[in-house]
């Protein structure tokens, strides 16, 4: 115990120095060559200042976790057999996860933490409104590489099981990431393996080697906490060029995934540290810091009489379960029926409803030509070409992962799963509906035209949808006479894209037809939006206007203000751009030409 106490004191001292040594946000953003293969307007004009803002916010939250770390009791120790970290091991693990999540040193230039793309006030999704409108994916450490999809919310990601194929149901369940590629096979926790992706994704944080995480952790001010929680052996014989290698973005070493030259024993130690990194982040995600199960709807479930929904929210809930059929995939843990006029006298089936089936579906979103990845087909200053397929890239989601296609991971169960790829082309993970409406307190809605300042989010895997109204309207009318055989940016004159015109799906195969012509009225659409807003965590019935969601107070940017004529229906229309001619740039052969081929050709 004395040893632990000394270690914690040393750690505290080192942490103070560490925090003082955090480089000022933005101080080195322009010191390196920038990569800008994009047409005008893909990168938002305020990108650099917004990056600086988010970095400052990240550092603020890191400081808060650092303070929690310092406040940890010095008597933490292992007790019992098997040894258990007591008395507050949960806090230790949660705080460690927080430190890891908000530590900018976990990137080549010490500039990008995991949380840069996942901030609390956006339910741990994308924090930059202009990015949500323009480039969809977030800029990585190496400016301005960017990835291919929206930053997925962390909330409740820990509830997804290890990716598995249920042969009776004939369906895939689980995994993390939109395409399920973080299977959870090794760590038995998909979100732990999800956390292992971005640090070495060349388009995100971008370390060239997973050993760089162990290297930077070995120098971290909170290293003693990591050692305490995991009993980790940092005694690794690091090569003299380790920092130089780790300060070079992934992609600069060609196909070499281990440019940090380690002995086999040391490589194993570094890999174990990387695994524990993922596991600590998984614990953070399951903690109340991220997934607290305290939305207005949770209070309603606890006692509908004491904590009722408003009339519109309740109408929305009934539509969510009934005519809208939303809970066929976004399961609410209740048993319901379309039959009107009856009363529920049963018990709640699940008091922690997750609002997901943990499965996959192709909802038929149009190709979004704003996704940055399409334009990254030229080498960057490090000689890395993010997307050699350029405009021929298509997002087949789970199908692409099962084929171990580009922009994904290798499929670890190919002998069994490869043949199933055509049956899941176009499918993306069914995310929880929880916290879909969570925004910073000063911008209390996602919806323009409500008379309130709003926070511009982006929805679905490709960010095509810009408000919850549009989201519900899409489910409601995708297959009606609003459907046109055009691509985004080419809706016929007299129609309004996303209002009275839905362009064709990017992937028509395996289209989910549960929704698409629901027959909801405009008012009913709004009521479903009102219900979705009850799923926002941090609700305190004693003081409903003040959120208790942790670190939700950290947004320092400006809210969006509704402009004349703008509504939630046409929100974001000014940033629509025309899609290129798909026939001129058909789906790339390394995506659509890999056996087993898609059941019908992808345009």
């Amino acid at each position: 115990m004395r040893r632990d106490t000394r270690a914690l004191v040393k750690a505290a001292f080192a942490t103070v120095l560490g925090v003082l040594c955090v480089p000022l946000a933005g101080s080195e953003a322009h010191a390196r060559p920038a990569y800008n293969p994009y047409p005008s307007g893909i990168l938002p004009a305020n990108l650099d200042s917004e990056i600086t803002r988010v970095r400052n916010e990240v550092q603020t939250i890191f400081g808060r976790y650092f303070s929690e770390y310092q406040a940890l009791t010095p008597t933490l120790t292992y007790s019992g057999n098997p040894p258990i970290l007591v008395p507050n091991g949960y806090d230790a693990q949660r705080i460690l996860g927080g430190l890891l999540n908000f530590d900018e040193n976990m990137s080549p230039f010490h500039t990008e933490a995991c949380s840069f793309c996942h901030m609390p006030y956006a339910a741990f999704s994308g924090p930059i409104q202009s990015v949500n409108l323009t480039m969809i994916a977030y800029p990585g450490s190496a400016h301005y590489r960017a990835a291919k999809r929206t930053a997925q919310r962390y909330t409740y990601s820990h509830t997804f099981p290890v990716l598995n194929y249920d042969p009776v149901q004939g369906l895939f369940f689980g995994g993390n990431f939109w395409d399920g590629r973080a299977t959870g096979m090794k760590l038995q926790a998909p979100d732990a393996e999800q956390a292992q992706g971005p640090p070495v994704d060349p388009l995100e944080m971008g370390f060239p080697d997973i050993a760089c995480i162990a290297w930077r952790l070995s120098q971290a001010s909170y290293r003693p906490l990591f050692e305490l929680v995991w009993g980790t052996d940092f005694d690794i014989n690091w090569p003299s060029n380790t920092e130089k290698v780790c300060s070079t973005p992934n992609g600069a070493f060609g196909s070499n995934t281990t440019p940090v030259a380690l002995s086999a024993v040391d490589r194993t130690k570094a890999t174990n540290i990387y695994d524990h990194w993922g596991e600590s982040l998984s614990f953070l995600e399951r903690s109340p810091d991220i997934s607290p199960f305290n939305s207005k709807f949770d209070w309603y479930l606890k006692n509908p009489s004491l904590y009722p929904l408003t009339a519109d929210e309740m109408a929305g809930y009934k539509l969510f379960n009934g005519k809208g059929n939303c809970n066929s995939c976004h399961l609410d843990g209740r048993s319901t029926t379309l039959t009107p006029g009856e009363t529920d006298t049963g018990n709640t089936a699940d008091v922690q409803p997750l609002f997901t089936c943990h499965g996959f579906a192709n909802e038929g979103l149009p190709l979004n030509p704003r996704i940055a990845l399409f334009y990254e087909n030229k080498p960057d200053p490090y000689g890395f070409t993010p997307n050699p397929d350029g405009l021929r890239y298509r997002d087949l989601g789970l199908g692409n992962f099962l084929r171990s296609g580009p922009q994904s991971f290798p499929d670890p169960n190919q002998p069994e799963w490869l043949s199933l790829a055509p049956s899941v082309d176009g499918q993306m993970q069914v995310m929880t509906a929880r916290d879909v409406a969570l925004t910073p307190p000063q911008c209390p809605t996602t919806e323009a035209g409500t008379g309130k300042p709003y926070f511009q989010k982006e929805f679905f895997h490709n960010g095509y949808i810009k408000s919850l109204k549009q989201l519900v309207h899409f489910y409601n009318t995708r297959d009606t006479s609003y459907a046109y055989p055009v691509t985004s940016g080419h809706c016929p004159a007299g129609t309004v894209e996303r209002v009275t015109c839905w362009p064709q799906p990017e992937v028509k195969n395996n289209l989910d037809m549960t929704t698409g012509a629901l027959g909801l009225t405009d008012t009913e659409e709004n009521q479903i939006v009102a219900f979705l807003e009850t799923l926002t965590d941090g609700y305190n019935p004693a003081n409903p206007t003040v959120s208790t969601y942790k670190n939700i107070d950290t947004f320092t940017g400006q809210c969006s203000i509704t402009t004349p004529g703008e509504t939630a229906s046409n929100q974001g229309d000014k940033t629509l751009i025309p899609t290129w001619n798909l026939a001129q740039f058909p789906c790339a052969t390394d995506i659509c030409g890999v056996p087993p081929l898609p059941t019908t050709p992808i345009p």
Binding site: V16, E68, A71, L338, T339, E342, A361, T477
Partner: protein, 161 residues
């Protein structure tokens, strides 16, 4: 240094207090409309209750819709249409995912046919199956629809105004 640590600890403690969520006793009164309907029972025998009928046709596509009682079984189902331009040769097949709602008494099936010719009469019959391949046991008689001229839309389910 000890002083600094103490200050940081106090700051952290104060911060954690800010995040606590005490629940007061003042709560709104109960509302009658805050009640939910009870669960539905699954059908003992699956049958088509409504349709099948054309939902919409335009630009080389057509959607057929029908309603059955809840077939139960796999949460994911397929809506299946066998179709062709000759009522004796329904050799083309369209198949789409439908997610069952466990609580609903009825299930709406919808299937999308693609690559259709304009101004052409198509014949079809529909059925459904679980994602695991087990048939729900029901099958419609042969029906027909005619696709509209290029640029035209035939729709039985107009979107909201």
């Amino acid at each position: 240094m000890n002083g600094l640590l103490v200050k940081l600890a106090i700051a952290a403690a104060a911060g954690s207090l800010l995040y606590s969520s005490p629940i007061g006793a003042q709560m709104p009164p109960p509302q009658k409309e805050n009640q939910l309907p009870p669960p539905a029972k699954r059908a003992a025998h699956v049958e088509i209750l409504n349709g099948p009928a054309l939902e919409i046709a335009h630009d080389g596509i057509a959607i057929i819709r029908w309603t059955t009682n809840n077939p139960g079984g796999d949460d994911d189902h397929y809506a299946v249409a066998h179709y062709g331009t000759d009522p004796k040769d329904l050799s083309q097949t369209a198949k789409n995912h439908i997610r069952l709602n466990r609580g609903h008494a009825d299930t709406i099936f919808r299937v999308l046919m693609q690559g259709l010719k304009p101004d052409t009469t198509y014949y079809y019959k529909v059925t459904s199956m679980g994602a695991g391949g087990r048939s729900d046991g029901e099958e419609s008689s042969v029906n027909r629809f005619t696709t509209p001229a290029p640029g035209q839309v035939t729709s039985a389910h107009p979107p909201p105004e």
